[in-house]
Subunit: 411 residues, 2 copies
Amino acid sequence: MAVLSGVSADSFAFSPANALSPANDRELERPTPQTSARLAAWFAAAQPATPHLAVDLHAIAARYRALADALAPAAIHYAVKANPAPAVLTLLAELGARFDVASRGEVELCRGLGISADRLSFGNTIKKRTEVAHAVAAGVSLFAFDSLPELDKLSDLAPGAGVYCRLLTDGAGADWPLSRKFGCTDAMAEDLLIEAHARGFRDLGISFHVGSQQTALAAWDHALDRAAALYDRLAARGVRLALINLGGGFPASYRGPSPDPIGYACAVGAAVDARFGAARPVRLIAEPGRGLVGDAGVIEAEVMLISEKGDGDPRRWVYLDIGKFTGLAETMDEAIKYRIETPHDGGPTGPVILAGPTCDSADVLYEASALELPLALKEGDRIRLLGCGAYTQSYSAVGFNGFAPLACTCL
Amino acid sequence: MAVLSGVSADSFAFSPANALSPANDRELERPTPQTSARLAAWFAAAQPATPHLAVDLHAIAARYRALADALAPAAIHYAVKANPAPAVLTLLAELGARFDVASRGEVELCRGLGISADRLSFGNTIKKRTEVAHAVAAGVSLFAFDSLPELDKLSDLAPGAGVYCRLLTDGAGADWPLSRKFGCTDAMAEDLLIEAHARGFRDLGISFHVGSQQTALAAWDHALDRAAALYDRLAARGVRLALINLGGGFPASYRGPSPDPIGYACAVGAAVDARFGAARPVRLIAEPGRGLVGDAGVIEAEVMLISEKGDGDPRRWVYLDIGKFTGLAETMDEAIKYRIETPHDGGPTGPVILAGPTCDSADVLYEASALELPLALKEGDRIRLLGCGAYTQSYSAVGFNGFAPLACTCL
């Protein structure tokens, strides 16, 4: 616990001494508080119909290099689900990334872009037999599981493959809710890995997930301690753990204090190294998604209406042309709080309730969380939502209320 | 209040004396508790890849006729957002329905199917100026609003149109959450309608929404009393209210007690008639969506995995190949509880947690609400979710986690 104890997400400061990356890209030293110059110039020139997501590939490339350095020797398996845009995948493939896929659809997407199957890990613990068979035929040889029935599937369809067992974690400290949907207890994982060893699987591993948008570094301490203890218990039973999959959880920059992403990753890397260096040699994988692409995306949207209800609530209702069902699904329960830029920033502000354009009453973005926007904001203004590179476009509904899915440009 | 007082949703019994419809379709007398024979035969013959939504157009036609009779003289404006499948819209158009649209996209959809613009009402109180202009050019002449800024838009772009002001309602008793997103107070609506009158709008109206999946009939009493009072207050100020839009809220049949849909509609019709008959003559509109098409849809899905976590929870985890992001968005906060059919119904059951196939922890369908499924349920079984005709396909994500949007067949 010594490595990270006392380091809170809020107080975490970037320390050049920790930086394995050259970090000469100053943007990486602090969460990006505003639209990058590249994206701003593109929006100004293109004036796309709103809502529109623009993704800065240069920012992703810089973040990839810095994260890969910070987390080395862990291999980066980009979580494709975070943003499956072909331009993003192609860029990361060129940079040497590997890919964590969640479904047959994502296997096909990667393979269709020429990414070789040996760079894919199938990270979903829930797979159809037909999906496993398809992945094996495509050449995928590393699979997640968290139960005996899933191991049975893999025994039948992917004998001898690499397998890693996901541990149940509680996600405390993460902004996006982590349910008990994935993983099993440490004791069950231990028995499953003994069984997997007996069945001839190779590269036995474990994985965990500290929770998406995990701003509390201490969460890593706890998970890594469990992983190390499991390594030792398995060793005592004659089974060598060969792989630790650190999962994702690396945060992007939203409203409120956010840790510096690379300093954060360096601290995680050091915490891993302290437990899995020479003492417990393992192959390491990390699966950043949000932490790799989240900060690179900006959505431009239009203010459709600003009104009040006559009900004595002093807050203005501000309605945008993007909402919960057209790209901002992560505002569910106001979990993810996007930073917002307006043409009137710097002027006096007042409280608002922010809502989307559909006729669905649930399509309210922020009501409980105190949001202030400039008093000068008016109908027709274009505003920007920052940190929208992950979990936006692919979440948007096919056509709910007649609204098109979120348009996206990668540049 | 006399009309509905003492009638609870749970105890409401179908009374032939109230039935304006011939009701010789026995299926309409009670919520459909199982897949219709037509859909069962189709699934058996087609064996579609799962998940797949099948919609029974015969059931929609029967429900339309019965609802139109029960609510007469109110005109049925089908809420397109509930299920915008072209086959559904074409069928309803042939049966004489009108349509409530939420966006430019839905105007274009209806017009593209040959539905004339005079059958459309633009029910979204949040519209872009470009959307209003497009709708007016297409021939739409009836618009919702709930604020002065929106009335300003309509003044500029749709002068002399029919307009109705939406009242703020609290949705108590409804299963799907109703926020304060839409509507204004009665006092504000009164002033806005006086203003609309002064500006030369015609067919002045009010609308309200008792809440989607509103099983408590008493909610109608309250809203209708408010509407009648507003009618009188406006009359005293020299403005005649010409239109009452009853909105939707008519329930479909999910788990737990559901009112008989036609008996329910008859009771609503009688409650409306008691207030807006000869005493307060108005044109009436109703906007059923879920209540018209919900019961007509069945999703067939596959059990991908049944497992446990080793954490002492006696509930099995059952993972389906459909989830919150591929069609079952209304399981958000477990609001809508679909009935489930399995091949093992009738056998002994045990508690389960039901979840979807994505790597998203939030993709859990039912955990807090007690759900029991047969102990004999196994991986690979095809199960059916009933009452899925509304708010499913159009909600599904474009490709989250690499899963395709929900496929749909109307027959």
